[in-house]
């Protein structure tokens, strides 16, 4: 592999990294918001969210990405590839994250929130100061799992023409006729990215021990 191949690989890695990172950020937040809304059990809204979650969880990423990219013009939306890719990944991961957050809510100790309310905290302060910090720690294993699924599933967005870390290996081997080296490097880069996430997960686990009273 020559310098330009390396350059292309790193560019592909960067594309995968930033599109995934943005989607993860959106997905984690939106998942939390959906879980919060679902707590309120608002009729119709709740059913719609359930519908969204089951559809999003059941749809392959490739299908979702294609659908968004191809239907956007019909809806009068001018989406560039990256935005469409991020939208597809976010819609997918949000659905899974919403379920992770929801179970964190459901398992949260009622006694602890009562103790918070008893000191005069409003439900919002209770959520922000007492529940959320602990829910983040207990949900992190699940969230990180979902993050690594998203990164590993992200090559799907190549279908709408985004040159990500996997797609770029095709382009390189089309020139060099040596498919193996770029694929191996790409594999190593994926492992490095996921490795960072796993490290984060360990950090959280150490903190989680404290919560086990």
């Amino acid at each position: 592999m020559n310098a330009s191949a390396w350059h292309m690989l790193l560019e592909g890695a960067w594309t995968t990294l930033w599109i995934s990172a943005v989607s993860i950020a959106i997905g984690v937040m939106a998942g939390l918001v959906i879980a919060l809304i679902r707590l309120a059990r608002i009729p119709i809204v709740d059913q719609l969210l359930v519908l969204y979650i089951s559809v999003a969880r059941a749809t392959p990423l490739v299908t979702l990405a294609l659908f968004i990219f191809l239907s956007a013009p019909d809806l009068g939306l001018d989406l560039n590839r990256s935005v469409a890719g991020i939208l597809a990944l976010s819609l997918n991961t949000t659905a899974f994250n919403a379920e992770i957050w929801r179970s964190a809510f459901r398992n949260f100790s009622r006694e602890q929130s009562e103790a918070a309310m008893a000191t005069g905290m409003t439900p919002w302060i209770t959520f922000r100061r007492i529940m959320l910090p602990q829910m983040v720690i207990t949900s992190l294993p699940g969230l990180v799992n979902e993050m690594s699924f998203l990164i590993k599933g992200s090559p799907a967005i190549a279908v709408i023409g985004i040159v990500d870390l996997t797609r770029v290996t095709n382009r390189i081997s089309a020139v060099t006729y040596e498919p193996l080296p770029p694929i191996l490097v790409a594999g190593a880069l994926y492992m490095a990215i996921i490795g960072c996430l796993v490290w984060l997960q360990r950090l959280a686990e150490r903190r989680a021990n404290r919560l086990a009273t």
């Binding site: 100790s109 006694e111 602890q112 009562e114 103790a115 918070a116 309310m117 008893a118 000191t119 005069g120 905290m121 409003t122 439900p123 302060i125 100061r129 007492i130 910090p133 602990q134 720690i137 903190r207 021990n209 404290r210 919560l211 086990a212 009273t213």
Partner: protein, 262 residues
């Protein structure tokens, strides 16, 4: 809590309080008045409604009928029947401090921060002010040297003492104790009771549900006996423990260790 006029105004005033869970009436037209500086103990067998009564006082349990005033202020519902918005309810609730059977400390915060959390985020106290107040309270409950420890490293008695400091930190008008020693190993009961006894000596207003008869006799100004949601007897501790009026209470006291005269 030492203004002269509060002595006329009850710290807690409960009128016609009723509450059912499904079809079971757990509280039936309960009336209770707790004067400022008074220690009231609620006694009764399990399922008599004692804890529910206590939890109604700070609206953790919503009564079906009746009214509760904390230091003259209605909790939960406005006088005209409108439900109280959550922020307002939280404000009235802050006039009470509660100590739970299961301690319910927040495990992600160390001892000091368990005590400063509400003053900072509810009262808007500065960090410094809240920490000074917290240290004084931790001193009072003998937990200063554990201020940096996390709850999971503490014994039950230590947890409960921190929980008492946490409740006191909001400078409540009344402290509510829900069986504060029931979850403790026998050898740890004493250290918690000693702290509560100190508080009563300092003039804190307290309502307590407990099974510790000797303790109830020693610290109470008023003992209330609850049976199937009804207050069937109320008296000063001497009268209550030596000459109970009803057979039910006599029987109850026989089954518990009847305390020797204090």
């Amino acid at each position: 809590m030492s203004e002269a006029n509060t002595s006329e105004m009850a710290a807690v005033s409960i009128r016609h309080l009723s509450k059912s869970f499904d079809d079971v009436e757990v509280l039936r037209d309960v009336e209770l008045e707790v004067k400022t500086g008074e220690v009231v103990t609620i006694i009764g067998s399990s399922g008599s409604g004692k804890s529910t009564l206590l939890r109604c006082i700070n609206w953790l349990e919503k009564p079906d009928r009746g009214s509760i005033h904390i230091a003259g202020q209605r909790i939960g519902i406005h006088e005209d029947g409108r439900p109280m918005p959550v922020r307002e309810l939280a404000k009235v609730r802050a006039k009470t401090g509660m100590v739970f059977q299961g301690f319910n400390l927040w495990p992600h915060l160390n001892v000091l921060h368990n005590v400063t959390e509400a003053p900072i985020h509810v009262q808007g106290a500065s960090k410094r002010e809240a920490e000074e107040r917290a240290m004084a309270l931790l001193e009072k409950v003998g937990m200063v040297d554990k201020r940096d420890s996390y709850p999971n490293t503490l014994s039950g008695g230590q947890k409960q003492r921190v929980a008492i400091a946490r409740a006191l930190a909001m400078q409540p008008e009344v402290m509510l104790f829900d069986e504060p020693t029931s979850a403790l190993d026998p050898e740890l009961v004493g250290e918690v009771l000693a702290v509560i006894k100190d508080l009563s000596a300092e003039g804190y207003t307290m309502v307590m549900v407990t099974h510790e008869m000797a303790f109830a006799r020693a610290v109470s100004d008023q003992v209330v006996f609850l049976e199937k949601g009804l207050i069937i007897e109320r008296a000063d501790p001497e009268t209550f423990f030596t000459t109970p009026k009803t057979d039910r209470v006599r029987k109850f006291l026989e089954n518990h260790d009847t305390p020797s005269p204090a």
